[in-house]
């Protein structure tokens, strides 16, 4: 009998966090990673939203996988993802109105996040509930930690804050002539920060480097 959390299960969670990371290796879901990472708080809310949508969608699709007619499977996946996103949007509007305002269209755009559809089609359609759930969780965290890392750097150097709070030592730095880097707030710097993460990752694990 298989154990509840065996080697294979660990791999499902661990791979997307590192060597199979959806953002840095598969380069999926980049658009939202660039747009909402100016503040740590937004990145965290977005991560939670994506974790919820991905795990629920994967579980639902995995349960339905033997009943979904092949010809309309993509539409069914889209329907499930879209309704979960609409649900998240409603809940945020009602309970976290400020975050919902900041994230505005990007919550709606979770629907188009390639990671979700990618995992549904590639994994949940052919695997059991528990495995699909773990796979979704792993990929959502893989997406989330990059988001949080990028947002940490951008908010720290772009606004001199973290989670919207001032950082104690920064007032001395300002007196010494330090200035926030406004470029950090603009989308291109998100690309550069993601680029640096990809660079670090590939220099540590040269197997990831493509031979050309």
């Amino acid at each position: 009998m298989k154990s509840f959390f065996n080697k294979q299960h660990q791999k499902l969670i661990a791979d997307p966090l590192g060597d199979q990371n959806p953002i840095t290796i598969q380069v999926l879901g980049i658009c939202s990673a660039l747009a909402i990472t100016t503040q740590l708080e937004n990145a965290l809310v977005m991560t939670l939203a994506v974790i919820f949508v991905m795990t629920s969608a994967s579980s639902i699709i995995s349960l339905l996988r033997n009943h979904v007619p092949n010809r309309i499977r993509i539409i069914v996946q889209l329907l499930v993802v879209a309704s979960l996103v609409a649900l998240v949007d409603q809940i945020l509007k009602a309970f976290l109105p400020d975050a919902s305002e900041q994230l505005s269209v990007f919550i709606g755009l979770i629907i188009t996040n390639c990671i979700i559809m990618g995992r549904l089609e590639a994994f949940a359609m052919g695997n059991k509930l528990y495995e699909s759930f773990l796979d979704a969780l792993g990929n959502a965290f893989g997406y989330g930690w990059i988001l949080v890392a990028v947002a940490f750097v951008r908010e720290l150097f772009g606004s001199g804050k973290l989670m919207g709070y001032d950082i104690p030592g920064f007032s001395y730095l300002y007196q010494m002539g330090y200035m926030n880097n406004n470029l950090m707030i603009l989308p291109p710097m998100a690309l550069v920060v993601v680029g640096v993460i990809i660079w670090i990752q590939r220099s540590r694990n040269t197997d990831l480097v493509e031979e050309n």
Partner: protein, 255 residues
């Protein structure tokens, strides 16, 4: 039943849509009161920020009731008409092209802060990428600006989007919407910077000219209408001052 048959496919699709549709409609309906409350709280926060009172969401309603003493609605000509000022969405009105100026309603709020009376005027206009809006608080001379709070939907970050920051809003304080002769001039958001000593200009945003002009136009178009009402009130106020002054004089003579 054959999983790939047309009948199965159709039944499956219809069932899915029905389930999902019902679920979403239910959630939306259930959360409706909460969302309405959030929108109202946000509006109260914005109104209060125009007189420099910053409150959190949880205390928005109590602080609004504390500071806002009166709500008035006027028409295009500056006459007071019936209506609840808080319920009028000026942004919605601004974008509704079927409404004529005569049909539009213009709300304003009277606030008391530190025993000073302020008039808070909501406004809406066009920026570069989408609507801009704001609240301007006037002192009880109906011409000096006490504070302004602007916001926007989609202006360029770092450029036009800066209209909701202090560096743009603070210079409005103390500016006058009438010139020395008492004529209405509004406040101009001036490209290249306000002229030295000009009481009716503030600095525009470099690189955000269209947004700055949008704010200028919004201020002019809105305040022009409110000024119709303000001038009628100011004239009354002036005459009361004169009579009381006369009264004092008479008293002095009596002594």
């Amino acid at each position: 039943m054959d999983k790939e048959s047309n009948l199965y496919t159709f039944t499956f699709a219809i069932l899915m849509v029905l389930i999902v549709g019902t679920a979403l409609a239910l959630t939306s309906e259930l959360l409706q009161p909460k969302k309405k409350q959030n929108a109202a709280d946000k509006k109260m926060i914005d109104i209060l920020s125009a007189i420099g009172v910053n409150v959190s969401r949880s205390e928005a309603e109590s602080m609004f009731n504390k500071y806002i003493t009166d709500q008035t609605v006027i028409n295009n000509d500056g006459q007071i008409v019936d209506g609840t000022a808080f319920d009028i969405d000026v942004l919605f009105q601004h974008r509704d092209k079927t409404l004529t100026d005569e049909e539009k309603k213009y709300p304003f709020f009277t606030a008391m802060k530190d025993n000073q009376k302020y008039i808070i005027v909501p406004m809406a206009g066009n920026g570069l990428w989408g609507p801009v809006w704001g609240f301007v608080a006037l002192e009880d001379d109906y011409e000096t600006i006490h504070g302004a709070a602007f916001d926007h939907k989609a202006e360029t970050p770092g450029l036009g989007a800066e209209i909701n920051t202090d560096f743009f809003e603070l210079p409005f304080k103390g500016k006058k919407i009438r010139n020395n002769d008492g004529e209405f001039v509004s406040i101009e958001v001036k490209k290249g910077g306000a002229e030295e000593g000009n009481m009716s200009q503030v600095d525009g945003i470099t690189g955000g000219t269209i947004t700055s002009d949008g704010v200028s136009d919004m201020l002019y178009n809105t305040l022009k209408i409110y000024n119709n009402y303000f001038s009628s009130v100011t004239i009354q106020n002036d005459s009361t001052t004169i009579t009381s002054y006369n009264n004092i004089k008479e008293n002095e003579i009596l002594f």
